[in-house]
Symmetry: C2
Subunit: 446 residues, 2 copies
């Protein structure tokens, strides 16, 4: 049953030599001996596709073939594994399909590509018996895909909840620490390079939704269902709610959440949510990422690290390459399956629950005409079947100058449908002086 070890180097073709590609090339070169010692064989970049060949040559030097044509890399006869580091979802899909059809393993950190085309790509990888590795697609420095599908493989995963977008976490940290509004904090993030000139992808929650889609697929062995995820960003978040949450003992974080419910459905959602200030996740600040995983045997574990960066992503891409270097030549049953399960590639019956069925605690902020309206609001909500757990008035410390009184409500767990109905109806209540804000309070201990 024993095969001779593959001792020739693993030959890598890279598509793209920008931030991720150059970082990967640099770390492979710098830690060459160490990585070969761990992989049991060398890992050599033999060909690179780039738009700007002169710039690419500046990165990779001589001894590496260069081409303008990514398809040449994808189908190159001397390449064992293709690293897609170009980004985008259109051509990248075609390159990976071509590479896998040519029998090559592929490695990518392209979360958008996998969130959108993952079902097709994973099916192609299975059909061709090759690995499609993607550790760098989620929270780059943190080996969370490996933790989920290998480290916690004994567990029925109950939920995953994480801060998986550094830009928005930087903005939320600034809003809390310095009392800034969203627009000011975003401007600072842009000035410091933590946010793109066009930040929509991050601040609207799309990037986090790509990542939580992949986490859910791994945690539950379900298809990639990005189109069904409920996605809410932080553009509408007010500094007032950051301060009111603080008064109640909470911090607001943009969370990606995937939760398997007892009925078999999965909540798949991104939204700003309240996290208890005493919880470790509340202390994941600045541009850092932190991901909680609840398993039935391990309990809650957390994984923390940088969610972006050239060499941070390289760390993940190279970990995938080392896995490929070891397991190239084994059959697919001896490799870790793409979404965790050999027995069924994915369980097509697992669906995403609609917004109305999401079940969490809630925070409500209700502007009222006078402080004594607090009693009427509490009583009215209870009458609407909203399970009120706590009612308080916002203190002067939480309120900006000139603000009218605000009733703050924390609920027990309740269906989103009930909350949406109550929030809508509350607008007509005579005590209410303005739009009601509702945010989820994530339940991270059970």
């Amino acid at each position: 049953m024993t095969m001779p070890a593959a001792t020739r180097p693993l030959r890598v073709g890279m598509i793209g030599i920008g931030t991720v590609g150059a970082g990967t090339f640099r770390v492979l070169a710098r830690n060459q001996a160490t990585i070969a010692g761990r992989a049991g064989r060398g890992i050599e970049v033999v060909v690179v596709a780039a738009r700007n060949l002169a710039r690419a040559a500046g990165v990779v030097g001589t001894g590496v073939a260069l081409t303008n044509d990514p398809m040449q890399v994808a189908t190159h006869p001397e390449v064992d594994v293709v690293v897609e580091a170009a980004g985008g979802t259109g051509p990248a899909r075609e390159w990976l399909l071509a590479a896998m059809a040519a029998g090559k393993h592929v490695v990518t950190a392209n979360k958008a590509l996998l969130a959108v085309h993952g079902n097709e790509l994973f099916a192609a990888a299975r059909a061709h018996g090759v690995a499609l590795a993607y550790e760098g697609a989620v929270a780059v420095s943190i080996p969370i895909i490996k933790a989920l599908r290998e480290g916690l493989t004994a567990n029925r995963i109950e939920w995953v909840a994480g801060i998986i977008n550094g830009t928005t976490n930087f903005i939320l940290t600034k809003m809390r620490d310095e009392g800034l509004g969203f627009a000011e904090a975003l401007a600072q993030a842009q000035a410091l390079g933590y946010a793109e000139a066009d930040p929509a992808f991050d601040i609207e929650g799309v990037d986090a939704a790509h990542k939580v889609t992949l986490l859910a697929a791994n945690a539950f062995g379900m298809p990639v269902r990005f189109a069904d995820a409920q996605v809410e960003g932080i553009t509408a978040l007010q500094g007032l709610d950051v301060a009111c949450a603080e008064q109640l003992g909470y911090r607001i974080k943009l969370l990606g959440v995937a939760r398997k419910r007892d009925n078999g459905g999965v909540e798949l959602r991104v939204q700003p949510a309240l996290v208890p200030a005493t919880h470790l996740l509340a202390h994941v600040n600045g541009s850092m990422n932190g991901i909680l995983v609840k398993g039935d045997a391990a309990g809650v574990t957390m994984y923390y690290g940088a969610g972006a960066g050239s060499e941070q992503t390289a760390s993940a891409v190279i970990a995938d390459l080392v896995d490929v270097a070891r397991l190239d030549g084994t059959n697919a049953a001896q490799r870790v399956p793409h979404l965790g399960f050999h027995a069924h590639a994915v369980d097509d019956t697992i669906a995403v629950l609609p917004r109305a069925a999401v079940h969490t605690r809630h925070y409500l902020r209700v502007p009222v005409h006078a402080a004594q309206d607090i009693e009427a609001v509490g009583a009215w909500l209870a009458a609407q079947q909203v399970p009120v757990a706590q009612v308080a008035l916002a203190t002067d410390k939480a309120l900006p100058p000139g603000s009218g009184p605000q009733v703050l409500v924390l609920t027990d767990a309740v269906a989103q449908a009930t909350v949406d109905l109550a929030v809508h109806a509350l607008a007509a209540h005579k005590a209410v002086a303005g739009p009601v804000t509702s945010l989820r309070v994530e339940m991270l201990d059970s």
Copy 2:
């Protein structure tokens, strides 16, 4: 190069069916279909060795052979892999050696065994071409061994620092939160089941030293050098220092630290140390564990979870079994090497640095006769080449009733030899009214 997938179940022999063994059996049974789906084949316990056969039968039911003789399990002809869940270092060593000599893979969560006999056991595993897996030996619920040797395999690991003993972290959390002394906090931990009746192993730092020894071996590819570790527990820690550290913006945690120095030597040590209150590690409280890893590409990542418990340990043991189930039948070069490196099994040249050479920041508490002695103490330390960064008087809030004035000093990084000399000499200084306390301030960002 492709072999047929092994489709018959992996047959497990277990030695010991106490807390760890029973938890493993229970989780394997409960999540049987899921685990088989992930492993690509079933995992079946076929024989169990136990002292009390009636009790063992109560756990495993019928259909599993029982024996009083662990050696029968170790050499059982129908067993593919032996799980050692009995503990202890004497007979367990012999069982594992016998199992490996018989060509069986072995899985253990026995940190003491590996810290003491690891070099011999890993060599035997290599000689016989079998896996010796030990994810459960460190911070059970957290897949930290997998993170270090696979997830971060691209990285030159610079240091590892962690809270890796739940008992002492529970005690330290009580001391800080409730202002208790060590003895009171220990008594509470014992009453609540977080500390053994004989807690020496935990509170003297030995358990943490076993674990950090294994982390160092993995991080640096060095031999297991438990005998060379510097081990200091928390039995001498005073509530006064917990309060004074708090005043300066720090919390005291029992840390296991392994740090590779530029000279190639490794600091390997366990001690109570100051951690900035703003650092995520300072918020790892109660009986939980948290481990920081600094890699040259990934930067700092952190891993958090329960460090003890029946099913928490089972989570790790079963992850190892699934790895074995997949890779049984491959050759050793296709499996992850025991201490991370194929190229050299271990690098024998890597030695542990002596205490005198350890280089950290320090906290000193100097009892003085009068508050104005602060200037003399600061000046005297600077004259002794101690790089003083901050000097303060303990406030009334930090001091217990009746305490004399205390000068608090934080230093920049300095060799332990310099600090030891200064602390010793300071006792003779006329301003000094009692024994000087020194604690390390761990440098966790660089």
